[in-house]
C-alpha cells in the first residue's frame, strides 16, 4: 500500500478585488468587510486535491486540511475550502493576531502547523503564490525557513513520486525543474491547474465536516510575538492615491494612429 498523504493548505480570507479596497484604523490594516477566499489559494487547494485523488483520496486515508488565520469572518474561507473538497478545516483566530506583518504571520502559522502535526507531521504545506491583498509573497518562504523545510515556490507544475516532489518554476531568464523530498513547502502559481468550483454535493458534504478553532494559547504562541506589537515592520502612514480618471476618448475615423502619435509628441513621449 502507498503511504498516505497529509497536506495542509493555507487559505486566506481577503477583500474582494472587484470592489474598492481600503486601509483603516491606526495600523492602516486592510478593511475585510467584503472578503472572499483568496482566488490564488484555490489553485493550491486544487493541487492538493489532485495529489490525494491520485492516491485514492480520503477513502485511502489521505487528508487535506484547510488552515486559515484571521478574524471571525475568516472562517468563511475555511468553509469554502471544505465545499471545494478539503477534508477538514482549522481556523486560527485570536484578537492578538490583528495587524500581524509577514514575520508575525509566519510565526503563528508555523506554530499552528507544528500543532497540527503533533501526531503525524504534515507531508506537504501548500499555499498560493501570494495573497491577493498583501501581495508580498513573503509568508511561504518565511514559513519554510521557520519550519526548516525545503521550499518549492511559484510552482507551475507539480508531481509527486513516492516522497520525491518535482516542480517547474518559470523565471524571467530561465525555467527551472526543481526537486525536493517530502516534507516540503510548496507555493503554486495560477498556471498550475484550473480550480474546481464547489458543487451541490460538495456544499452538502461540507456541512458534516469539522472546523477546529485554535487560539494562540492552543498553539503555544506568546501574544506579544504577534500582532502589531510583535511585528518587525510598522506602517506609519497611508494615503489613498487619487483614482485615475478617463482622459480623451476618440473613435477611429481612419486617422487615429496619427492622432495617437500627435498625443505622444505633445506629451514628449516620442
Amino acid at each position: 500500500m502507498e503511504e498516505t498523504l497529509k497536506i495542509i493548505v493555507l487559505v486566506k480570507h481577503v477583500p474582494d478585488a472587484q470592489f474598492d479596497r481600503h486601509l483603516t484604523g491606526a495600523g492602516n490594516t486592510t478593511d475585510r468587510s467584503e472578503s472572499i477566499l483568496s482566488e490564488l489559494d484555490e489553485y493550491a487547494l486544487e493541487a492538493a486535491l489532485q495529489l490525494i485523488e491520485a492516491r485514492g483520496g480520503e477513502a485511502a486515508g489521505n487528508r487535506v486540511i484547510a488552515l486559515s488565520m484571521g478574524p471571525a469572518g475568516a472562517v468563511n474561507a475555511v468553509k469554502k475550502s471544505l465545499q471545494i473538497g478539503a477534508s477538514e478545516g482549522v481556523h486560527l483566530s485570536d484578537d492578538a493576531l490583528a495587524g500581524s506583518d509577514a514575520a508575525a504571520t509566519s510565526l503563528a502559522l508555523a506554530a499552528a502547523i507544528r500543532h497540527l502535526g503533533a501526531d503525524t507531521p504534515a507531508d506537504l504545506i501548500l499555499t498560493g503564490m501570494a495573497s491577493t491583498d498583501g501581495e508580498t509573497s513573503l509568508v511561504p518562504a518565511q514559513l519554510a525557513e521557520r519550519l526548516d523545510l525545503p521550499q518549492v515556490t511559484f510552482a507551475s507544475s507539480l508531481e509527486l513520486d513516492g516522497a520525491t516532489l518535482t516542480a517547474r518554476r518559470d523565471g524571467d531568464a530561465h525555467a527551472d525543474t526543481v526537486e525536493a523530498t517530502l516534507p516540503a513547502l510548496v507555493s503554486v502559481t495560477d498556471q498550475i491547474n484550473d480550480p474546481r468550483y464547489p458543487n451541490f454535493k460538495g456544499i452538502m458534504a461540507a456541512k458534516k465536516k469539522t472546523i477546529t478553532t485554535l487560539s494562540l494559547a492552543d498553539i503555544g504562541v506568546d501574544p506579544a510575538h504577534v500582532g502589531r506589537s510583535g511585528s518587525w515592520t510598522a506602517v506609519e502612514s497611508a494615503e489613498a492615491r487619487p483614482a485615475r480618471t478617463a482622459g480623451t476618448i476618440i473613435t477611429d475615423e481612419g486617422d487615429a494612429g496619427i492622432k495617437l502619435v500627435e498625443f505622444l509628441a505633445a506629451q514628449k513621449l516620442l
Binding site: S137, A144, E179, E236, R241, A246, I249
Partner: protein
C-alpha cells in the same frame, strides 16, 4: 555611519540599471558594501568601485545556484554579519524577495517589499492594494531588509570612486540540506528589447491581437519599448508567460503604457495602473480600460497600431 549591504545575484558581464539604483540608494543611506553571487567580471568590479562600494563579499561555495533560495539566504545572512550592516537592499524580483523573506527570519529583521523610495532615516515608501494607496513603512528591528523596485531613482556614480577589497564569506555547510535542488535549467532567448519591469515604455497586447503580436511588436520597436501581455494572451500561448502583466504577472510603472486589445479586467489593471500615461486601443467603447486611459481610441488595433508605427517612422525620417 550605517553600513548598507547591497545584494547582487549573478551580475553577469555588466551591472543592470536596477543594481546601479540600489548602489545609489545605499550611498544615500550610509556606507555601501556589496554581497555578490556568481562570477565577478573586471568591468563589474570597476563599476561597483565607481558607485562607491567599500567592500565586496563573495561566498565560499560555488554551488549556490544549484538550490532554490535557502542557501543563498544563509550566505547573505553571513555576509550581513561580516559587513555589520543595518540595512540590506535587494532588487524586487520574485527570487530576491524570497531570499529577503528567509534572511528576515534568520536575522530577526523586518522585510519591506515593493519599495519605490527610501528616506535617509530608513522610512520606505511603497504602493499597496494594486497601487490604490501609497504607504510609508519602517522596520522596527535593528536590521532592515528592503526590496526595491526598478526605476526608483536615477543611478549616479560616486563623486570619488573606490577600489573595494574582496572578502570571502563562509557559507554554512548545513545550508543545502533542507533545500530544493534545481535539476534542470532552460535558459530563455533574450529578445533584445528592454526588460519589462525596467522599461520606460511598454506596449501590451491582449486577446484582441488574436494570435498575431506583429503590430504590437512593430510599435514597440519603433518606440524602443518592452512588450507586455494580458493573461488571456499568455494563456493562449501567443507569447511567453514572462510577458504577463497584472496581479499574477509583473507590475510595471512605465512612463507610457499602451494597451491594445485588452479589456482592462481588475487583475490586469493591478499590474499597470501606476503608469504615468496610459493609452488604450480597443474596439469596444464599453471596455473598462477606457475608465483609466489618458488617451483612448475606440478602434481596430490592426489598423491603428500600424498607422501609428508608420507615422513615428516618418517623423523620425
Amino acid at each position: 555611519m550605517a553600513k548598507v549591504l547591497v545584494f547582487i545575484d549573478n551580475p553577469g558581464q555588466a551591472l543592470k540599471k536596477a543594481s546601479l539604483e540600489l548602489l545609489t540608494i545605499a550611498r544615500y543611506l550610509g556606507e555601501p558594501a556589496v554581497a555578490l553571487i556568481g562570477e565577478l567580471h573586471d568591468d563589474v568590479a570597476a563599476t561597483l568601485g565607481a558607485y562607491g562600494a567599500q567592500m565586496l563579499y563573495r561566498p565560499s561555495a560555488a554551488d549556490l545556484d544549484d538550490y532554490l533560495v535557502g542557501p543563498k539566504a544563509s550566505y547573505l545572512a553571513a555576509a550581513v554579519h561580516a559587513a555589520d550592516a543595518t540595512v540590506v537592499l535587494t532588487e524586487n524580483s520574485a527570487e530576491a524577495r524570497e531570499i529577503a523573506a528567509r534572511l528576515g527570519i534568520k536575522l530577526g529583521a523586518g522585510v519591506i517589499t515593493d519599495v519605490v523610495a527610501v528616506d535617509a532615516d530608513g522610512t520606505a515608501h511603497k504602493s499597496v492594494l494594486a497601487g490604490s494607496y501609497i504607504t510609508t513603512a519602517k522596520a522596527t528591528t535593528p536590521v532592515a531588509v528592503l526590496t526595491v523596485k526598478a526605476n526608483s531613482i536615477t543611478p549616479e556614480p560616486a563623486v570619488t570612486g573606490t577600489a573595494p577589497a574582496t572578502v570571502t564569506v563562509e557559507v554554512p555547510e548545513t545550508a543545502p540540506a533542507a533545500s530544493a535542488r534545481i535539476t534542470a535549467r532552460n535558459e530563455k532567448a533574450a529578445s533584445g528589447r528592454p526588460e519589462l519591469t525596467e522599461a520606460r515604455i511598454v506596449v501590451a497586447g491582449g486577446r484582441g491581437v488574436d494570435g498575431n503580436f506583429g503590430p504590437v511588436e512593430d510599435l514597440a520597436d519603433a518606440l524602443g519599448a518592452a512588450i507586455g501581455a494580458s493573461r488571456a494572451a499568455t494563456d493562449a500561448g501567443w507569447i511567453g508567460h514572462d510577458a504577463q502583466i497584472g496581479q499574477t504577472g509583473k507590475t510595471v510603472s512605465p512612463q507610457l503604457y499602451i494597451s491594445a486589445g485588452i479589456s482592462g479586467a481588475i487583475q490586469q489593471k493591478a499590474g499597470m495602473q501606476t503608469a504615468t500615461v496610459i493609452v488604450a486601443v480597443n474596439k469596444d467603447a464599453e471596455s473598462p480600460i477606457f475608465e483609466i486611459a489618458d488617451f483612448g481610441i475606440v478602434g481596430d488595433l490592426f489598423t491603428v497600431l500600424p498607422q501609428a508605427t508608420e507615422e513615428i517612422k516618418k517623423r523620425r525620417g
